[in-house]
Subunit: 232 residues, 2 copies
DNA sequence: GTCTATATCCGGATAGAC
DNA sequence: GTCTATCCGGATATAGAC
C-alpha cells in the first residue's frame, strides 16, 4: 500500500473541474449565440482545450445540452421540495420555478425540448435516455397532487396531463418577448386558476369513470399510463 | 413579336418536370432511409442531377420537406371536402383520412417528428414557415364544426384544440406497429366518441364563459385564437 | 488516464465558371 | 440551369506527450 489508491482523489477532482468548465463555457456560448451557431471548436477553444479533448468529455454537442437539462432538473427538484401551501400554490411554485430556471437559457431551450420527445427510439414512443428525467418531472407534479385528495387511480393521468401542459408552457415561454416573460407567467396562473378548481370533479364517480375510459383508450393505443411515481 | 414570348410553354414544363422528379426521388429516399440519413448528394444523384442543380431547385433539404407538407395537405382537403354526415362522422372522416394520407410516409415522418415540439425548427408544425399549411388544416376542422350548432365564438378555440389532438394522434400513428395501424385508428374513434358528445356543453352559458376565459388567457399570453378560417 | 495535435470523413450549403 | 470546386462544421481516428 505504497502509492496505489490514495492519490485517486486529486485527479478525479480535476476531471470534474475540466468537465464542469467545458459545460460552463458551452452554456455561455449557447446562450450568447444559440446552440446551432456554436461550434464544438468554439467550445473547446473557450475552455482552453483541443477539439479532441472536448469530445473526450462530451461525445457530441447534444450531450452538452443534455447535461444541462439534467442539472436543471436537479436544481428544480431542490426548489420544488421546499414548496408548501395549497395544491394550487405548490403547483404554481413548481411551474413558475421551472420557467425561471430556464430563463437564462431560453435560447437553447428548443434543442432541449426536442430531445424530450424522441419517438424514433426503438423502445417506445418516448426515448429511453430521457425517460429518467421525464419521469422525474412527472413524478414531481404527481407528488404535489397527492395532497389534493384525488383518488390515487386518477393521479398518474392528471400528472401526465399537467406535464404536457407544462411542456406547452415552455413552448410559449421561449417565444415570449414580453418584459420579464410576464405573459407566460400570467398564463401559468390563469391556467392553474382554471384547472385546479376542476380537479375535484375528477374525484366524483362520473369523473373517475371518464378517467378510466381515457386510460383504457390510451392503453389500447399502446400508451401505458403507469402509476409510476417511482421517483424520489 | 417574332420569338420572344411564345416559346415559354416548353421550358416551363421541363422546369416543373425536373422539380417534380427531384421531389419524387427525395420522398422515396426519405421514406426508405429517413430524412436525416438521406443526403442531398443522394437525392441529386437519384434524380440524375448534380448537387448544385438540386440546390438550384430546392434551396435546402427542408424545402423538400415543406413541399411534401403542401402536397399532402392539398390532397387531404380534396378528400375532406367531399365528407358528409353528422359532425361526428365528418370529423372521423377527416381524422382517419389524415392518417391514411401519411401512411405511406410514416418512416419519413417519424424521422422528423422529433422536431415537432421545437418552435424554432422551421420544419416543425409551430413555425412561421409552416403557418399556411397549419391554418389550412385548422380551417378544415373548423369548417366541419360549423355544422355542430356551436356558437361561432367558441369555434376557433375548439378547432385549434382538435388540431392539437390530431397532432398527438399523428405522433402515436407513426409509432404504431399494429397491423393496419388499427390501434391508432381505434384511438381516433375512442377520442371522438368521448369528445364530440361533450361539445354541446360548450354551447351552454357556463361553457361559453369558460371558452372566453381561455381565449382571453391565451390572448394575454400572446397566442391569438383568431376566428381565422380565412381559408378555402 | 488525460490531453494535444492533426488528419480525415462526411454532408449541408454556396460561388463561380460554363 | 447546370456543373465542379470549395467552404464549413460535426464527428471520428490516431499518434503521441505527460
Amino acid at each position: 500500500m505504497s502509492s496505489r489508491k490514495p492519490p485517486s482523489a486529486d485527479p478525479e477532482r480535476k476531471r470534474d473541474a475540466t468537465r464542469g468548465k467545458l459545460l460552463d463555457r458551452a452554456l455561455k456560448l449557447f446562450q450568447k449565440r444559440g446552440v446551432e451557431a456554436t461550434t464544438m471548436r468554439d467550445i473547446a477553444k473557450a475552455a482552453g482545450l483541443s477539439l479532441g479533448a472536448a469530445y473526450y468529455y462530451f461525445p457530441s454537442k447534444e450531450a452538452l445540452v443534455f447535461a444541462y437539462y439534467e442539472a436543471n432538473q436537479a436544481e428544480l427538484e431542490e426548489v420544488a421540495r421546499r414548496a408548501s401551501g395549497t395544491v394550487r400554490e405548490r403547483l404554481g411554485i413548481v411551474f413558475h420555478a421551472k420557467l425561471e430556471s430556464i430563463r437564462p437559457h431560453r435560447k437553447m431551450l428548443s434543442s432541449i425540448i426536442q430531445r424530450l420527445v424522441d419517438p424514433s427510439d426503438p423502445v417506445g414512443p418516448f426515448s429511453t435516455q430521457t425517460r429518467a428525467v421525464r419521469e422525474h418531472a412527472i413524478g414531481l407534479i404527481e407528488q404535489v397532487l397527492h395532497a389534493s385528495g384525488l383518488p390515487v387511480a386518477v393521479l398518474p393521468l392528471v400528472a401526465r396531463a399537467l406535464w404536457l401542459a407544462q411542456l406547452a408552457l415552455l413552448l410559449v415561454f421561449v417565444n415570449d418577448d414580453s418584459p420579464g416573460e410576464q405573459r407566460t407567467h400570467g398564463l401559468v396562473d390563469d391556467l392553474l386558476d382554471m384547472l385546479v378548481p376542476m380537479l375535484p370533479l375528477l374525484g366524483t364517480p362520473p369523473g373517475q369513470a371518464l378517467c378510466i375510459k381515457i386510460v383504457d383508450a390510451l392503453g389500447r393505443a399502446g400508451i401505458p399510463v403507469t402509476p409510476a411515481s417511482l421517483v424520489e
